[in-house]
């Protein structure tokens, strides 16, 4: 080590030069915009792909999309979904979920149920503020899930587009599920895209 280098080193040590170096960085940051924001007052921008609370969707004419196939239940890695399916008493041979529960305390928000759903009845929304004092209210039932779906319909659709679950095209929006017909009483006309 040369004498000059040694001198510099001693000088730096004596003058606590590293503090000068660090302070330079610190002072430079005094002229930056703060990167923090005031959360409840300022909204975070949530991306479309965000996996928030789950909601159930309806077709545009108001019919429930869910046919109660229970595939979300089996796809769920944390077994937090419970579907009770039944035959719709008003419409013979049409299957629907008479009860639908998601235990949000167990949900891991992986989105597998949405991926599994063969009719895109489930979608995730940008809703994330539902903390509560009562844990029991975190068992979302069918009504609450449809409410979420209705209130966050746009988010839900954006989610489906973002995750390639549904295409943002006319044809895809017209799609709906057709049930078997009964010989006794017909409740729907044959589907357009299949006839």
């Amino acid at each position: 080590m040369s004498v000059a280098a040694l001198t510099r080193k001693i000088l730096h040590a004596a003058l606590f030069y590293e503090i000068v170096d660090a302070m330079k960085v610190t002072f430079r940051h005094m002229f930056h915009q703060p990167i923090t924001f005031q959360y409840p007052r300022e909204e975070r921008a949530i991306p479309h792909a965000h996996r928030g609370a789950l909601g159930l969707l309806r077709y545009d004419d108001g019919r429930e999309r869910c046919v109660g196939c229970d595939l979300c239940e089996v796809a769920c890695p944390s077994h937090c979904i419970k579907v009770i399916s039944a035959e719709d008493t008003a419409r013979p041979l049409q299957r629907y979920a008479s009860e639908f529960y998601i235990d949000v305390t167990k949900c891991v928000f992986c989105g597998y149920c949405v991926e599994a759903c063969p009719v895109n009845a489930l979608a995730m929304t940008k809703m994330y503020e539902y903390s509560t004092h009562d844990k029991r209210t975190l068992l979302f039932d069918k009504k609450r899930l449809y409410d979420i779906g209705e209130r966050h319909l746009d988010d839900a659709k954006q989610y489906l587009y973002a995750h390639n679950q549904e295409k943002n095209v006319e044809e895809s929006r017209e799609y709906r599920y057709y049930f078997p017909q009964s010989v006794l009483k017909s409740t729907q006309s044959p589907p357009k895209h299949l006839s």
């Binding site: 040590a13 960085v25 965000h50 595939l71 991926e115 063969p118 895109n120 799609y175």
Partner: protein, 414 residues
């Protein structure tokens, strides 16, 4: 700003600490001290029983299992696909890399080829995750020693990447983005732009971190020559990743068992000399630069193409086909309700996560579920060397020491 290579200077502490023998003949006894499990610097819920002689560590015994959730057993309960979200929760700081390691293991079991673009995407995201991991380590390690500023600066930049993850896959930490046979969704042009911006923004920030630490003589004093482990010991303890390379062993799975798009990228593997905390730090900082390099190369080389393998017996059909085609509907139902049928056999597949070698060992007896799944978690293996590394050091070094090999208890306890 240029930095000296300071690795030659080693502050040696005599592990035999003779000063304790010069004490007058007072009655002495070893003090047992419980460190953790509820302690801010224990990286989760680690408990260590320290045997102290004065302020020196005579023996330290990590007590594990406070975060045990039976993840390996959970794997036997669900399909291969269903285990991916569980891997998020191993090393919850770096979910992507766990996903990656697991998917690679299953793909090896299935002998599945992943499309080129997916390989590049996987590499890019894995390296982004490595950056996040190292940033997190750096911040936490500095904080353990008392340097708070670095923590904030690291987390500031980490936020950018976490938001990027959110946009990519919908979650910041529990990503579940990798899929067996590819990835869940492609990068959008917007995401690529954001990543490119970050790559330009980030290298100067690394220098900022270095300013705060490498010139700080207190920090240097507490890292150099602390927790030294020799190359032989490191190898025999089964250490891996920066902890192993810090001792001068040039071993990196990305180079020695190249996978994904790594063989197509040029990058170097930094190697330490002394095996002390400082060297391990230095390697991680150098790896930040290397990661940036790898991501840049991948973004340049990446061609358009599918991001998911097209193997009907394993991978899901596109959703739009499920609505209208019976064969895709059947595929969807079979894959979700029963899972794909893996061949009988057993495989081990190690992946170089930022902590070290993250390995999955899968025993399959055929069928849709693994018969047994074992996770070789680097945190757990490194914890084994803790006693060896900490003997003779001061009690105040304990946190530095287990911080130095990057512990996340989620992975350690599983």
């Amino acid at each position: 700003m240029a930095f000296e290579d300071q690795r030659t200077t080693v502050y040696k502490v005599n592990p035999e600490h003779p000063e304790s023998e010069t004490l007058p003949t007072l009655r002495t006894e070893e003090l047992l001290l419980n460190l953790g499990p509820q302690h801010p610097s224990t990286h989760g819920v680690l408990k260590v029983i320290l045997e102290l002689e004065g302020e020196r560590l005579v023996k330290s015994t990590p007590v594990l299992g406070f975060l045990h959730r039976g993840v390996e057993k959970l794997a036997e309960d669900g399909t291969y696909h269903q285990f991916i979200p569980h891997t998020d929760r191993l090393d919850y700081v770096c979910a992507m890399y766990n996903n990656f390691a697991y998917c690679r293991a299953v793909e090896k079991l299935l002998d599945l080829k992943v499309p080129d673009r997916a390989e590049y995407l996987r590499t890019i995201v894995a390296e982004v995750q490595r950056i996040i991991g190292h940033q997190f380590w750096l911040g936490a390690q500095a904080l353990d020693i008392g340097a708070m500023t670095v923590f904030f600066y690291c987390f500031r930049d980490r936020e950018i990447l976490l938001d990027w993850f959110d946009e990519l896959c919908g979650a910041r930490l529990t990503t579940s983005w990798y899929r067996i046979g590819g990835v869940e969704r492609d990068l959008t042009p917007g995401l690529i732009d954001k990543l490119k911006q970050f790559l330009d923004y980030f290298p100067p920030k690394i220098t900022e971190y270095q300013v705060f630490l490498e010139k700080n003589r207190i920090w240097l004093g507490r890292t150099k020559g602390v927790a030294v482990i020799s190359a032989e010991d490191a190898v025999s303890f089964g250490l891996s990743g920066p902890t192993l390379r810090g001792s001068g062993v040039d071993y990196d799975l990305r180079k020695y068992e190249p996978y994904s798009a790594y063989p197509k990228c040029e990058f170097s593997v930094p190697v330490g000399k002394n095996g002390d905390t400082y060297d391990r730090y230095w390697i991680r900082v150098m790896e930040l630069y290397e990661s940036v390099k790898i991501i840049r190369q991948c973004l340049e080389q990446m061609q358009d193409g599918p991001v998911m393998a097209d193997v009907p017996s394993v991978t899901l059909p596109p959703k739009s086909r499920v609505f209208t085609n019976l064969e895709s509907m059947i595929q969807q139902f079979k894959l979700f309700s029963q899972g794909f049928q893996a061949p009988p056999g057993e495989i081990y597949c190690g992946t170089e996560a930022h902590k070290g070698e993250l390995g999955f060992y899968i025993v399959s007896t055929g069928g849709g579920k693994p018969y047994r799944l074992k996770i070789r978690a680097p945190s757990f293996i490194h914890m084994g060397a803790f006693d060896h590394m900490s003997r003779g050091y001061m009690i105040s070094d304990a946190c530095t020491i287990f911080g130095s090999y990057d512990v996340v208890m989620g992975e350690c306890d599983r």
